[in-house]
Symmetry: none
DNA sequence: CATGAATGAGGTTTCATTCAT
DNA sequence: AATGAATGAAACCTCATTCAT
């Protein structure tokens, strides 16, 4: 569990600085200061500012994927899978609050170069939902739009939650979103 | 109606450049080139790069508001108001394709300074929805979350549409989103 | 003759700074200071430090070539051509004293990347000599080595001249070198 | 004769790296890697990068001097001394190929600081030649210029040889240079 | 109004050197 | 003696902004 090497300290610092200032306003100097080391030290662990930022994106991606895979393991009912996937995503965002902020809020639109990588998180999640919805009997077209709608609704609520400094009850909001889509798709009795 | 002065040309150019490169990658030089004038000329019409960007945000805000107000004028039924508001928003985003891209996609997360201003578009729209939902009988809590969910779903679909170069049928998607929320809130028979 | 635009000022300054400090010790700051302008101004005229340095190399190359071509024009006797080429080269080095210093003394070994470009000056000159020597009746092998020897002898003398701040009489030295090779190749009576 | 301590390993590594990359592009890290030790170890044997480079220059200087002194020992005829000195220098450059490359090719122009030291090799060699030429009957002025010419011719040929990866036959070239100067000075019958 | 050359602060990145282990 | 992580000064280069014409 020796998880507090310099690289972890720098990642944590980068999370805070990117989260607070956004990608472009963040400076290596600020990240190094936050991690209490020299700017040169940053480059012992990351080849560039971009490399560091992408490492954070990758980290969130990995966390979300791992959590969702675990939540879906051993579950057969597609409606149940859907429910658990949504809940898992919300849980990761809540736990990795700062990381989610970096990727979902500060990273968006930061740079055309980063967009593709950052959208992998949303797309990967969206893919699960499409599959489950089709398994639940929805036709493909509506499943695709529905998955986007769900991801968008969730991201928006997380964004509001982050922006409002957690005034909003994220769990309640996630439940309400679940209810909305559940009813819309007539899945109330599928569990 | 002399709408083709230098300022309008510069705004149009800024739209294209910000939309393509994002706020930070965009340069005044590129905007001026696109508008076929010198960089100095830019500063005759905008006090700074930030000022120009915010002018675009304000422009989208104004367009959306005007269009929605017009769409709601003279309509009494709250469900009908809701329906028309959504359709008006979609219509504006479609028409002001590039502007929407700047504000919704490239502007997001660009800079903490801009966030508040840019979120006014979403919040203002969200406020209409909350009001209509409450008028339709929903309790306030669910109306707030529901409005965020709707805005998020819509923004996501517009984002996908923009990113995929309009492969997705935006009108169909907007209709499907409408159907989802309509059913979820039991408003099918309210029109 | 309006040859004193900013670019010419910067080239002159670069000549002085590169000549004094060598490529790597020279800083853009120092060049800009010498040219009495801001560092940013440097980049209005050169895309990089390397670009500027190569512009100087190219300049010397062009000067030498032009001067030699002119000196050889309308001369038929190969021994006479040889004589005039050598004298032309010496003349250019004397006139473009600082430029020669940059390319012949400071540039040598500065960077493997630059070597090829910088050796074009020597090679181009060497090629003329080889041709003339063969025309004078020398066999090719000896002409090649002889041309290198001559170029080397000349460069060394110019180098010493530059290093000693012109204490040595360059014209006398060039004449003596001419005599050496003339005798060695038995060309005393060819003119 | 314990010639394989760490310092020798580092000098050998430095030779390879300086020879390949040039003084400024060479990094301590690269030299240490090549010598299979840590960067800190480098500083146990050299006080700085400059110190290490100068040690190499000094090494070549010593080698050349030793070899020439040995070659001249017990020889009385000044023309024979001259001949043997030249051959000794060529022999050292051929044997210490990499070292010669560092000093003659990569070191040249690297840094004004190094020039003086590096030119000692040429000057020391040149001094021998001047002495021998005067002993052979040449007047001093011509002997000085002649010695520079010879050193330059030789250095150029070695430079070409190094640059062309030894395509040129160095021994043949040295012989040809010897013949050129021998004839120019009328020494053909002096041996 | 319009221009565009000039500015210079500030950012990212490199690397010689140090020092605690 | 040996290590190699850490340092931080300094370099190159960009670009928003100004101002003389």
């Amino acid at each position: 569990m020796e998880e507090h090497g310099r690289k972890e300290e720098l990642l944590k610092a980068a999370q805070a600085i990117f989260g607070h200032y956004g990608y472009h306003q963040a400076t290596i100097r600020a990240i190094a200061d936050q991690a209490q080391c020299a700017t040169g030290t940053f480059y012992l662990y990351f080849s560039s500012k971009e490399d560091c930022f992408l490492a954070l994106v990758e980290q969130l991606y990995t966390h979300v994927m791992e959590y969702i895979m675990k939540a879906r393991a051993g579950v057969d009912n597609p409606a149940e899978k859907l429910k658990r996937s949504l809940e898992a995503a919300v849980e990761v965002f809540r736990r990795d609050y700062e990381l989610a902020q970096v990727v979902l809020v500060r990273g968006a639109g930061a740079d055309p170069l980063f967009e593709d990588r950052m959208w992998r998180v949303r797309e990967a999640f969206s893919a699960f939902i499409v599959k489950d919805l089709v398994d639940c009997g929805l036709d493909y077209e509506r499943a695709v739009i529905g998955s986007h709608a769900w991801v968008g609704a969730l991201a928006e609520v997380v964004g509001v939650w982050i922006r409002q400094d957690q005034d909003l009850d994220l769990t309640q909001a996630a439940l309400e979103i679940e209810r909305i889509f559940w009813r819309a798709w007539g899945l109330e009795d599928s569990l």
